[in-house]
Symmetry: C2
Subunit: 111 residues, 2 copies
Amino acid sequence: MVDGAFAHTPTPPYVAVIFTSVRTPGDNGYAVMASRMDELARIQPGYLGIESAREELGITVSYWADEAAAQAWKHVTEHEIAQQRGRSAWYADYQVRVATVTRSYGPDGPR
Amino acid sequence: MVDGAFAHTPTPPYVAVIFTSVRTPGDNGYAVMASRMDELARIQPGYLGIESAREELGITVSYWADEAAAQAWKHVTEHEIAQQRGRSAWYADYQVRVATVTRSYGPDGPR
């Protein structure tokens, strides 16, 4: 098992927030804020993990114990400010999908 | 709206299959098979779209009309052969999470 990149989530059910985005050109303060949001997310109640990759499209999946925990993170003040800056400066477009994970498995079976 | 990279999914509910992976070194026939699987997925019943990005971690989210459609795709013979090759050659590790999307929104509200 390769560690570090994967989120270590518990047995389902839990919530996945799938955030897909296309960036605008330039940094415009994005890297610093992204790193701060990552740090801040990790200390929220119900936080389970985060997975992220970016090519043409960026995909970040954050995992939460339940819908209430995912919603609470959306409304953390510092995160709301980041979301507003995301809409006005960092993202040409984005989509958020909130989903309930029902099954999970790896190469050796359920995980 | 930036087009091309985003999946154009309908109003929820629908199913998201979140596939996260870490590759082994080298191509080993991966690129050709990945492109073929992409092509094959698109013609399956209940296929809604696919989104993909890879850095240290690869994340591919495929969207399906329902659980039955996602399951059927998992069991398409050519895809089963690819999955076996994935386990033996292409992926150092991977995780699949099957989830039901319940809400979806973009910068301008529900989408």
